[in-house]
Each structure stands twice: as structure tokens, then as C-alpha cells.
């Protein structure tokens, strides 16, 4: 049994699992409604009169903050609650394969929801002539950011068998990662901390990295940031699940 074969088996089961329950449909509908209403009402998409999707993407980090933990909370907490974790871990599957399979299933699901916002892109092209390169980059950035939130959520979900706890803790941790580049937080550090520390805190911010990508440039640094953040949290996730054997 190869590693990727079992990863794929877990991925498929998990991905189909989203659509076997109303969860997927409820999530997608709410995701799209929220994206739409934020952009049109709060973002005043029409009133600004500019052919760009900056307002639309500007809301992504904040919507993800609450919606992504709703996807990730069940990843491990549910398995532990229902006892299926015992089944999963006694099948000839490595823990890493299970962690990666589940993560990619959740990420692919988030990707589907994000993809379904394409009418926004179509409309803005109909209304004017936006910079499609910038919009494409922003989509990639948004997807990467969703992956970051999901990796954090997956890891935290493994620490509890209670989905509500997984959700709340994930929101809090993701919030810290989101705003660590905000003046509010940096101001707190700037008064006393050395500049390198302020920079370090700031560099962990999803907002900073996402804003950089939203300018239309997919910088290697931002890719490395999200890539290593995802890898780090999935690595911890494997350790957490593995620890349950020793428990």
C-alpha cells in the first residue's frame, strides 16, 4: 500500500463526506451570500465605480476567520468522538497520509467554494476592464490563505474531541495570525520591543502576506510563508495524532 494511494483514499472519503451531508451546501450558500453582501453593501462595490475586486478580496481574511474553522473543526474531533479514529489508525495507513489526505480534502472543498465566486470576476469584466492578472493572483493568495487557516484548524481539531472547542480555539488562533501585522498589535510591541521582534510579529500576519499578493505579485517569500506555515501545522498535527497511541 503506497503512501499516496492511502492519502488519496482518505482524501476521497473526506471530500465526498462534505457533500454527503447538508454541510457542504449550507456552507457554500452562506459563503457566497456573505461574500456577495459584504462586497456590495459594505464594500460599496458599485459606488466606488472602479473595475477591480479589491473590496471583495479585502473581506476574505475576515470571512475565512469564521468560515474556515467551521470546515476544519470536524476533521479530527469528529473521528475521536465517534471512535472511527480507532478504525482509521488500525488500517495500514500512516498518520501522515491520513493528516495530508484530510487536509487536502478540506482545502479542495474550500477551493470549490472559492471557485464558485467566479461570477464576481465575470461581472467585473463585463462592467469594465480590470487587471485580470491582479485578480488571478488574488485568487491564488486567497486559496493559500485558506490553506493556512485550515492547517491551523486541522491541527487544533486533533487536540480535542469536541467540535465546538475546536471551532472557538481555531478562531482565536487564526485571529492572532490575521491581525499580527495590524497597527493595533504592532503599536503594542513598538513601544518597547526591538525592531526585529516587531518585524517578526508582523511577518506572521496573514494580512500582510495576502495584501502583498493582492497587489498582483506572487512573491516567493509569500509562497514560502504560507507553504511553511501549512507544513509546520500539519507536522504538529501528525505528532498530536501519533501521541494518542502513547496517550
Amino acid at each position: 500500500m503506497s503512501f499516496w494511494n492511502s492519502t488519496y483514499a482518505v482524501f476521497r472519503r473526506e471530500f465526498e463526506g462534505y457533500f454527503a451531508t447538508p454541510l457542504a451546501y449550507v456552507f457554500i450558500v452562506i459563503f457566497l451570500l456573505a461574500m456577495g453582501s459584504f462586497t456590495f453593501y459594505f464594500g460599496q462595490f458599485y459606488e466606488t465605480g472602479r473595475a477591480e475586486l479589491d473590496v471583495f478580496f479585502g473581506f476574505h481574511p475576515w470571512l475565512y476567520l469564521f468560515l474556515i474553522p467551521a470546515i476544519s473543526m470536524r476533521l479530527w474531533a469528529e473521528e475521536q468522538k465517534s471512535g472511527t479514529i480507532e478504525l482509521l489508525l488500525t488500517l495500514p495507513i500512516s498518520v501522515a497520509a491520513a493528516v495530508i489526505g484530510k487536509f487536502f480534502a478540506a482545502w479542495a472543498f474550500a477551493g470549490v467554494a472559492l471557485f464558485l465566486t467566479f461570477p464576481m470576476w465575470v461581472s467585473v469584466n463585463y462592467l469594465g476592464s480590470p487587471d485580470n492578472g491582479v485578480i488571478f493572483a488574488s485568487y491564488i493568495g486567497s486559496l493559500l490563505m485558506a490553506g493556512g487557516y485550515l492547517a491551523i484548524g486541522s491541527c487544533l481539531s486533533a487536540l480535542t474531541n469536541n467540535q465546538v472547542i475546536a471551532f472557538v480555539v481555531t478562531v482565536v488562533v487564526c485571529f492572532m495570525f490575521t491581525i499580527s501585522g495590524h497597527d493595533l498589535v504592532l503599536g503594542f510591541f513598538q513601544s518597547w520591543a526591538p525592531l526585529t521582534l516587531v518585524d517578526a510579529v508582523s511577518s506572521f500576519s496573514f494580512l500582510t502576506h495576502f495584501a502583498a499578493i493582492m497587489k498582483g505579485v506572487i512573491d516567493l517569500r509569500d509562497l514560502v510563508f504560507f507553504g511553511s506555515l501549512i507544513s509546520l501545522f500539519l507536522f504538529i498535527n501528525v505528532i498530536v495524532v501519533d501521541q494518542k497511541r502513547a496517550g
Binding site: M1, N5, R12, R13, G83, E86, T90
Partner: protein, 247 residues
């Protein structure tokens, strides 16, 4: 085929399994008997690689469970306590997932699913979601999953729990039919089951083996020749454990 030596498992200060050594050969059906909390399930969880032993060694078909978990887990079919399964799947989808993980492809997978479903009497409910099934059917889904890849070693934690008398009879027949080519361990509370299917019985009390022999040998231990009496004589009732703990 199963060799256990000096198996110990501690949870904090509690010793759940306190030095069990066993050998189970091909063709044997070993019945694990013992009061609740005696260490039956914990032992099974260690054999199947879900829990790591604190001390001792387990080998399944020549593969050490800790060192070569993959090879060992490939050789094992396991029905965990309570027969956990993914509630949002149908038995068909669930068995397909197990087949994929077990490395069975296309025709081999289809064939294996058909055989397992037929042996456990699942054909009528293959397309019904698992969470809508009765307790008896859920248990049989767990059984089908365990025997799907025709493993040389079968570990079943209370395989007949929650079944009606007809279903119990059918499952016992199934176990007997499979027994010549396999090494099987079942745990049970039902003493008559030992007589019905087991070639050998082990009584476990407080993490230790207190009796090991054929059902006939165990019966000989009591003047009344009743297994209930043997069981009561050899194991400790809850009241005594409590008294000991407080003294």
C-alpha cells in the same frame, strides 16, 4: 500467528494490562473473557497497533506491531469495540473505502465487497446510510469491514454485542466457518459464546491472565461444571476492588 510476551499497558498510575503473554495459532478461536475493565479491549487495541504497549512485545504473522506496524496491520482484520463506522456513508461506500485502503482494486475490490456483504448478510442495506441502520446491521458492517481483505488474523471486540439471537447464531457460524485458516481472537461477556465458538478461552482479571485452557478444561475447575461459576470464582467483583482501594 499471534505472539504476545509480557504485555504491559499503563495509563498514568493505572495499570490496565499487567503482563500478559499469549500465543494464538492458526485454526484457533481464542475467547477473551473478563469483567468490564479487565483489560480485554486495551489488549486488543495494542495487538492492532492503536495503542502502543508500555512494555512487552507483540508479533503478528512474524511482524512486530511496533516496529513494522504496516505489515502487521495488513495481516489483521479488526472490529473495534462498538463497531465504529462513518455514519454519513453507505455500507457500500464504506467498504469501498476500506478496499481502497487495503490495496484491493477494481474487480478484486468488487469481489471482496460482495463476498463480505454476503457473509455478513448486508446485501439488503448496502445503499442505505450507516446512521440509519439498526444496531445489528451496524455491527455487521463492522464485521464485513474486518473480513473484507480475508486477513490471516482476526481481532473482534464483542462481535455479537447488540445482535438478536438469530444474528448471533449467524455470526458464530461465520466465525466457525472462517476459523480453520485463521487465528481469531474475540472478546465477549457472553459465556455461552465460549462454548459455541471458541477452541480456547482466556479469562483476564485486572490486567492478568487468571485462566487459560479449552472450554472443557475451564469447566473442570468448578465442581458445578458451569462456566458462570468458574468466571465468578476467578474474577474479582467490583465491590472487592472498591474495598481494596479504600483500605
Amino acid at each position: 500467528m499471534i505472539e504476545i510476551e509480557g504485555l504491559v499497558r499503563r495509563f498514568g498510575s493505572l495499570t490496565a494490562v499487567g503482563g500478559i503473554s499469549l500465543r494464538v495459532a492458526k485454526g484457533e478461536v481464542l475467547g477473551f473473557l473478563g469483567p468490564n475493565g479487565a483489560g480485554k479491549s486495551t489488549t486488543m487495541k495494542m495487538i492492532t497497533g492503536f495503542l502502543a504497549p508500555s512494555e512487552g512485545r507483540i508479533s503478528v504473522c512474524g511482524h512486530d506491531v511496533v516496529e513494522e506496524p504496516f505489515e502487521a496491520q495488513c495481516a489483521i482484520g479488526y472490529l473495534p469495540e462498538g463497531a465504529p463506522a462513518y455514519p454519513d456513508m453507505t455500507p457500500e461506500q464504506f467498504l469501498q473505502f476500506i478496499a481502497q485502503v487495503r490495496g484491493l482494486k477494481d474487480d478484486a475490490a468488487k469481489q471482496a465487497i460482495q463476498t463480505a456483504a454476503a457473509r455478513t448478510g448486508l446485501q439488503a442495506v448496502l445503499d442505505q446510510r450507516i446512521d440509519t441502520l439498526s444496531k445489528g446491521f451496524k455491527r455487521r458492517v463492522g464485521l464485513a469491514q474486518a473480513i473484507l481483505h480475508n486477513p490471516p488474523v482476526l481481532i473482534m471486540d464483542e462481535p455479537t454485542d447488540g445482535l438478536d439471537p438469530n444474528q448471533k447464531h449467524a455470526v458464530r457460524n461465520l466465525i466457525r466457518a472462517m476459523s480453520p485458516e485463521k487465528a481469531i481472537i474475540i472478546s465477549t461477556h457472553i459465556l455461552e459464546e465460549v462454548d459455541a465458538v471458541c477452541t480456547r478461552a482466556v479469562i483476564i482479571d485486572r490486567g492478568r491472565v487468571v485462566a487459560d485452557g479449552t472450554p472443557a478444561q475451564l469447566l473442570a475447575k468448578s465442581p458445578s461444571r458451569r462456566l458462570d461459576d468458574v468466571f465468578r470464582d476467578l474474577t474479582t467483583p467490583d465491590a472487592e476492588i472498591k474495598a481494596e482501594a479504600t483500605s
